[in-house]
């Protein structure tokens, strides 16, 4: 085992961790906006699935992976709009709505995939994102390979972290979002349109989760397969909490979960005998630990999960 614990191993591990964390990061940043405004979005999984599917469809029909990614975002927004309608406007319980959205997404993607492409034994492949090496940076030892020879979507994901932070803490939108999530009544009394802010945040979460799905189908692959998200949307929900509802924390959480996943894969290929199930539990247990506040106080937005009716 010692022979694998070398620098190359770590470069490979971290680079894998980075790839594995990107879809989580996209969706979790989206989830953060939604939760910061007070809406729990368990539907991230389904929205990601829709994004993965729509991305492939978009790229298939336009021939452009960029338009594919755009279609993925739009489809995420569309599903999120339904979610916002039932949770923010009609005010059905958010958790149950999320579960229903996931169910819906599984059905709809599968239905439309069949309607569009028929039943195939070989995948429909489309144009996808290729790695872009950043000139100069990608040749740096270690970090060059890990950080600077990725697809455009990876750079976008990491760029979104400071952008989200800036929006949340330095702009009036961000202040509105935080106010709505903490104290919707107070927001209402100063004229912040609570439910409109929430709807927009949910839509943003749809766009980002959709992009996260597209990262899988177009950034990592060039095809869609049924259920290709495989629970990453739920991990994203966990990452929002573990990251304590702020972009920096979510970045760290996504990376930790990515490392855990990459490590699990590598330990197995290296023949280390730890039941894989325990490694798979890791992100969830970690989130529970985060919630105990033993490693620092976690304070959820006060109005999280509560619909606002005047």
């Amino acid at each position: 085992m010692n022979d694998i614990m070398n620098a190359a191993f770590f470069v490979a591990l971290l680079s894998a961790a980075l790839r594995l964390s990107v879809p989580i990061l996209f969706a979790a940043l989206g989830g953060m906006f939604s939760e910061r405004s007070g809406v729990v979005n368990i539907g991230l999984e389904g929205i990601m699935l829709t994004g993965a599917f729509a991305g492939v469809v978009g790229s298939y029909f336009t021939g452009s992976q960029w338009l594919g990614a755009l279609v993925a975002m739009l489809s995420g927004v569309a599903l999120a709009a339904l979610f916002a309608l039932i949770t923010v406007k009609i005010q059905i319980n958010q958790i149950v709505s999320g579960i229903a959205i996931n169910l819906l997404a599984v059905g709809l993607t599968s239905f439309f995939f069949r309607a569009l492409f028929g039943i195939t034994t070989t995948p429909i492949t489309v144009n996808a994102f290729a790695p872009v090496s950043l000139p100069g940076l990608s040749t740096l030892p270690f970090v060059g390979e890990i950080l600077f020879s990725q697809t455009a979507l990876v750079y976008i994901a990491f760029l979104l972290v400071p952008v989200s932070w800036f929006i949340l803490y330095k702009t009036s939108w961000g202040l509105n979002i935080r106010t709505v999530g903490e104290h919707p009544t107070a927001a209402d009394t100063v004229g912040i349109p609570v439910n409109r802010v929430r709807t927009l945040c949910v839509l943003a979460s749809g766009a980002l989760a959709g992009l996260g799905g597209a990262f899988l189908s177009l950034g990592q692959f060039n095809m869609f397969v049924d259920n290709m998200i495989s629970g990453r949307g739920f991990i994203a929900v966990a990452a929002v909490i573990f990251g304590r509802w702020n972009p920096k924390g979510i970045l760290i959480a996504s990376l930790i979960f990515g490392v855990a996943d990459a490590l699990q894969i590598r330990l197995q290929t290296a023949g280390v005998e730890i039941p894989y199930q325990f490694l798979l539990m890791f992100p969830y247990l970690l989130t529970v630990v985060a919630l105990t506040g033993i490693v620092g106080k976690t304070v959820a937005p006060k109005a999280l999960g509560k619909a606002y009716a005047k």
Partner: protein, 555 residues
Amino acid sequence: MNPILKMTNISKYFGTFAANEGVDFDVMPGEIHALLGENGAGKSTLMNVLYGLYRPDGGEIWFDGQTRHFTSSRDAILSGIGMIHQHFMLVPVHNVLENIIMGMGKEKGFLIKEDQLEKEVLEIAARYGMEINPRAMVAELSVGEQQRVEIVKALFRGTKLLIMDEPTAVLTPQETEELFKTLRRMSDEGMSIILITHKLGEVMAVSNRVTVLRDGKVTNTVMTKDSSEYELTRFMIGRELSPACRDGRCCADKLVLELERVTCEGELGNHTLEDVSLSVCSGEILGIAGVDGNGQKELAEIIVGLRGVKSGRIFLSGEEIAGKSILEIIGKGVGYIPEDRHKRGLVLDFTIGENLILKDYSKKPFTKGGLFDFGQIYSHADEMIKKYSIKTSAAGRDSEARKLSGGNQQKIVVAREVDKGPKLLIAVQPTRGVDIGATEFIHKQILKAKENGTAVLLISTELSEINQLSDRIAVIYKGQIMGELAHEAFDESLIGLMMAGLTYEQAVKAPRGAGEAPVEGNRFADGHRTNQSNTLTPDQVSGDLPENPKEQVSP
């Protein structure tokens, strides 16, 4: 002069219930206009309509030169109306600046320019003589400071008319006076203010005009100077008040409650109570006066077992009860009207019937063989509703406590705690936010309990309430008892000085003007290191005080 606001024929229904009906109401520029009425009269509703939070079912609003149709508070804010709600609308985890500027993206720009905004905020605060720290977290501010943030928040939006819903209910007398100073200054600058309050004294002191609401309709609008507390009371409740008053006779009998050098620690390890010793006899009311936040809550909570003591002993009828469970202490006949009825005294989602058995739910006759006996529960509820005149909605005993007005909610608590004839009754702020009719009623219940032999510990920040009911008065300051006096020796300014940290001995020697000390007390409530002298000049009173005055005086 033309009014700045005219509301005509306003109606607002909840379902079929008319919270406001045909209300006419106007306010002049620069006027402080008081809005009076019993709990549930429709004051908050009317103001919510004005502020765009509710849409009226009928009527017109004319404000600042034109007819308005506010569809949201944003509309109201933009046209120059500000509102400070009874429960502050502040986000505890935001800092003061964020709380002030929130929702102002359109006016102040997309990017938050903190430094510039901070300067603007400080300027406004200074103009009206208020001190605030824009970078402080709201969660860490006192109630008075939070209210200042609310006021600045309104001023920052260019308010021409400021609505204040029961702003003094949670303030100390000192903070109240500060607030009134600010209000007068604002009115001098031409701003109009609508003030909702249950305290007639305040109305008389600060307002120019008064409108009285009753059952959703206006009964009268009068100039304050042409009216009297007596008349306003009649307008409000349709009858005269017969203020509850102790009959001067103290029937003190056996010793019931005794605290022996009790010290109690707060979350931060500081002493919230220090070396407190006091005693209450059956048939006696001991009033504890003091500025809010000086250990009153802790004092009540250690007695009923909600909080542990660090040292010292507590006896109930001679039996040590410190360290015993809440349940045991309740079982020994201790009734407790808590400071915050929403937080402690009631389960708002329970029905009236369920709330009335909150402390006896598992006892006979309500429980038989492990199951509830609903016949008993219902008849008990009906009896209490009748006996304590609890005004319920149509659902009667089955209506949720949440749906009652504050005064009626408090009556549930009082009924539950008093009706059993407890050995000891602890009443903390029993009439906070409660209208004068209900206040009178609650006071009478407390006196009746005393006459029936209950020992009463009355903790209140309202000196008038303390004076009205107590046989003896003790003053608490920073967790210490500054001294005790008999009712006969009641002297508002003396007590005011003690509330500010002087011992009885120091206070009697201090020169003072009637009614002034409590007002000024706020300034030295923080306490400063001082020179050691027994006679204090006025200067010293307002500026320097012994940090721990008690030690200065040899017993």
